[in-house]
């Protein structure tokens, strides 16, 4: 029963006009959720949590760094699931959404790398350290870039999305292996690694802002994904009737 309604719901969302409507209605709520969580999270991170006794105020960059890192990886998982659905059932919306994930994931990866580098400067005394997590993130960034470049390299958008989806899935198998191999490599070459966040150094007072920021970033991801997917859909279908109708309804029809 639940499966049936779910399937029906899925089928409905697979139709471009309905998806566009859904995205238009839902995305403002996600943006609102993002704003609220961000304000609360930033306030707590900057004013409520006392400065770290070793790292003083530097450690506050963690509240952006860590949620971005999580989201960078989670985005790949979402993208891989969407890509698998796109390849198996050939649902166009999932093709578009999977491809919309790539730039968002790349952005979070880049934020993670940038904040990691800024954080590392006072900690390690260098802008770049071959730390396992940062190295994995750097490779993840290149995987995202490869997916985006491949998607951009074909004329037919649907064919492009399906071919890039094959790469997404190949990457999904490889990413955990890359991650662990890099971790192994750093332990072998450096012996002891200096971690930005040690397992024990996460004080309980640091948890609430971290959670708020994590939720904020989830909202941001959802909103960005819906908006991107809807924009791509409107652009691809701009000559089709449903887009014309939607534009007319909002007084934006082209002459």
């Amino acid at each position: 029963m639940i499966w049936k309604t779910l399937k029906l719901w899925f089928h409905k969302l697979g139709s471009p006009p309905l998806f566009s409507q859904f995205a238009r209605r839902v995305s403002p709520w996600l943006w609102a959720g993002f704003t609220i969580c961000l304000v609360v999270g930033v306030y707590k991170a900057l004013y409520v949590v006392p400065p770290d006794y070793q790292q003083s105020d530097t450690s506050r960059i963690m509240y952006i760094h860590v949620p971005s890192a999580w989201q960078a990886m989670l985005t790949y998982v979402v993208m891989a699931v969407l890509a698998a659905i796109a390849l198996i059932w050939r649902i166009r919306i999932t093709e578009i959404m999977a491809m919309a994930c790539a730039p968002i994931g790349a952005a979070f990866t880049l934020i993670c790398l940038a904040t990691g580098s800024i954080w590392g400067r006072p900690m390690w005394g260098t802008w770049w350290e071959w730390d396992a997590r940062l190295t994995s993130m750097l490779i993840l960034l290149f995987i995202y870039i490869g997916i985006m470049a491949l998607y951009a390299a074909f004329e037919d958008r649907r064919k492009a999305a399906r071919i890039a989806s094959v790469l997404v899935l190949a990457g999904a198998v490889n990413i955990p292996i890359i991650h662990y191999s890099v971790e192994w490599w750093t332990t072998l070459h450096q012996g002891q690694t200096i971690r930005l966040i040690g397992e024990s150094s996460l004080h309980s007072s640091m948890l609430p802002p971290l959670i708020w920021m994590t939720i904020a970033i989830k909202f941001l991801f959802g909103a960005a994904l819906l908006d991107r997917a809807r924009n791509e859909l409107l652009e691809q279908d701009q000559s089709k009737q449903w887009v014309q109708r939607e534009l007319q309804a909002r007084g934006m029809a082209r002459a």
Binding site: P16, I91, I93, R158, D237, K240, Q241
Partner: protein, 209 residues
């Protein structure tokens, strides 16, 4: 329509590019001794239809049924330029186990005596002829010929008709596309017009979802 005798059939066959159907849905049934001529202007989707029938492309909707693998003679001759004509056919023959010898296949397509030449050195028309010789050294009752008359001279076109005639005589079936030269056969010919789908077609709810 008797299914048992049908060599190849297609039902409501469509293919999409850029999210649009390339042509209106196609239904067809190919019977032994029959030829189907696919007609349509440039870009109407004749090649796409033949590649769908051959199984190279997966249809967006509908299905193609055949018992025995068809032979597909495409736009591109599937000839390796670095191999000689004889080597090309010898390789194909290993896959097909035909009773026709390589020399006789070369003779029938008008390439007698050119067996040792590297395929790279052949002219466009000769390369097409070598591609046709593939049909002889591999056996299948179903021939799918995409523009078999392209780049051929009058003599070559006549030879194509001869090949098709022989094939139909022995109970085979042929589907061929052409936009200029019409086949000259004594056998029943069906004509199938491929109608392109114009731009701005109604696409309210996407059919592929």
């Amino acid at each position: 329509m008797v299914i048992v005798n049908t060599l190849l059939s297609a039902r409501q066959l469509t293919f999409q590019r850029h999210g649009l159907n390339v042509f209106q849905p196609v239904d067809l049934a190919l019977n032994p001794g029959h030829a189907i001529v696919v007609q349509g202007s440039n870009g109407a989707g004749k090649t796409t239809l033949l590649r769908l029938l051959a199984g190279v492309l997966e249809p967006s909707d509908g299905e193609v049924l055949f018992e025995q693998d068809p032979l597909f003679h495409g736009h591109l001759p599937a000839v390796k330029g670095d191999l000689s004509c004889r080597e090309n056919l010898a390789f194909e023959r290993k896959l097909g186990a035909s009773s026709v010898s390589i020399a006789s296949a070369l003779l029938q397509v008008g390439l007698a005596g050119l067996g040792a030449r590297p395929a790279r050195s052949l002219s466009a028309g000769q390369t097409r002829r070598l591609g046709l010789a593939r049909l002889l050294v591999r056996t299948s009752p179903i021939w799918l010929l995409d523009e078999p008359y392209a780049s051929l001279d009058a003599d070559g076109c006549h030879q194509v008709d001869q090949l098709i005639h022989q094939h139909l005589e022995t109970g085979g079936g042929v589907i061929l596309s052409t936009h200029q030269q019409m086949p000259d056969l004594q056998h029943p010919i069906q004509y199938l017009a491929v109608a392109p789908v114009g731009n701005g077609c109604p696409q309210g709810a996407s059919s592929d979802a």
